[in-house]
Symmetry: C2
Subunit: 318 residues, 2 copies
């Protein structure tokens, strides 16, 4: 595979899927009759909470890692993240037998630092500001020659994230629409591209917490907006869009819905109680949007990407 | 199918499985590499938390209900339970289009009463003592002519519960052993019978909380013992064995292990965190036993029955 410098084509996503297959799980698609009754729709949940490292991020990280040259691979992977992307980069490196350097805020939970080290990565701590993360990462890259794997604003990562929707489409017939949460927009971009390529006619929707609605405002205004707060329980969605992801989202999405914090917690609880699976708050945002917009989704077959299951059980919202 | 008045044979269990198939889910068998590493064994988890009503109880209740005569069916099903068996009897009746009468302690959580009524059952409240439950049930049966479905001490129920292990054996090759929790012993009896019939050489083990170790003491002493306390988080396992289940367990089990309360909570948390699935405390008891007894399980292929996923998310132990 070669590094992508363009919006991934259908063929790019197909090739990506073949290459990353040994590094990911093909996750199951679950259904739940009682949630269907509440939604008045048929929902097909793509369970990326069962993915390696517990989140879809493994797809994008492995896609980007596999595209590096042998020489680049040898020097290793680097990123800054306190979340699922950190572990995905660390595990990708481990599976390829190459080094990983992960910059994490020193305020990250001990369990996340330990998990990342557990995958064999070198964890470099820094202050909890974006500036500190970026400058620390720069130094790490200068020292090691490792390649920075961006969590979302990268066509190689987007091609990897697209494979979740590709599998969902392959495993489900005639989806009327497909919905994913929007943080940095990598998953959403890939999801929309896969819908267009592999199931034309399937509409792509995005869902976002009201509190961090940069994608909603960007989509509606046509110009990139930034979040003014990060005050949401959906900690995976606090990020702003990148130019690459905004460009795809602007053109490929049918619409974006925002949902309230109580609606996110209620949808999360519903999935835990009815489906008996553990999902993280970010993951519940699309279901909250489906339940809040019956006019859009009623009577449809709806694909819902459940993005991850990494929650701190000591700090649950119920 | 006819009512069973003997220990279910292999053929009885096969026939039961065919007949209840439309009333149950064939639940998946999941594996988890990180838990395998901790156990030093290969574990195959039979996920009855994904069963209808969220627990294996649906197998036994539907097996017993289907065996009634048309006339008996018309008069309906009755039981006393505040747990998963109540909902299983209620749903079995609903699927057969017959009435269900469920006696529940008035102290039962509102959510459980509502869930049982939601399946169309008539809920009759009584005081929270065994005597009150039994006398209230007697009156209900006298008034309605409904048939009492015992939660475990009934060969028809045992034949139903046996189908979980039968499926696990069909979906997994060469299990060295299989382990289930013991409450009243219905699931354990069925599990041990299926192991003997459908996978000779697979050893059957039981697991019990230390605090309610009646089965352990009964097994070791050869005479039925009773629990002196019900002080365990594993609320599904507080029951004493019945004569029918003790008779099977005494003859079919290789051994019974007891585990501490902290070990139960730790095993439950491990499954939530690593497997991203919701299990109830009773469900974690066999895994706790496997982790505590490496001398027995290391290097083996171990089938573990995960019994249910009905937990009150507002009262988690972590």
């Amino acid at each position: 595979m070669k590094l992508l410098h363009h919006i991934p084509t259908a063929e790019d996503i197909r090739v990506t899927h073949e290459f990353i297959r040994p590094m990911i799980h093909r996750t199951p698609v679950l259904t739940c009759r009682s949630i269907d009754e509440m939604a008045g729709a048929q929902l097909f949940f793509k369970c990326e909470n069962f993915q390696k490292v517990g989140a879809f991020k493994m797809r994008g990280a492995s896609s980007a890692a596999l595209r590096l040259s042998d020489e680049e691979k040898e020097r290793g992977l680097a990123t800054h993240s306190s979340g699922n992307h950190a572990q995905a980069v660390a595990l990708s490196a481990r599976l390829l037998g190459i080094p990983a350097y992960i910059v994490m805020p020193d305020t990250s939970p001990a369990i996340k630092k330990a998990a990342t080290k557990g995958y064999g990565a070198e964890v470099i701590l820094c202050e909890n500001t974006l500036a500190a993360r970026e400058s620390t990462l720069e130094k790490v890259v200068a020292r090691t020659g490792a390649t920075f794997i961006h969590p979302y604003n990268d066509y190689n990562v987007i091609a990897g994230q697209a494979t979740a929707a590709k599998e969902l489409i392959e495993d489900t017939e005639h989806l009327g629409c497909i919905i994913a949460p929007i943080g940095g927009g990598g998953l959403m971009s890939g999801t929309a591209l896969s819908a267009r390529y592999f199931s034309p006619g399937t509409l792509a929707y995005g869902a976002e917490p009201e509190a961090v609605d940069d994608a909603y405002r960007s989509f509606k205004s046509g110009a990139m907006q930034e979040n003014t707060s990060i005050d949401t329980i959906a900690d995976g969605l606090r990020t702003n869009l990148g130019e690459k992801t905004f460009d795809i989202i602007r053109r490929e999405l049918e619409d974006i819905f925002t949902v309230s914090e109580p609606a996110i917690v209620a949808a999360m609880r519903l999935v835990w109680e009815r489906m008996k699976i553990v999902i993280e708050p970010s993951c519940a945002v699309p279901l909250a949007a489906v339940l809040a917009n019956p006019g859009v989704f009623e009577g449809k077959k709806v694909g819902v990407i459940l993005t991850g299951g990494n929650v701190d059980l000591g700090r649950l919202p119920f």
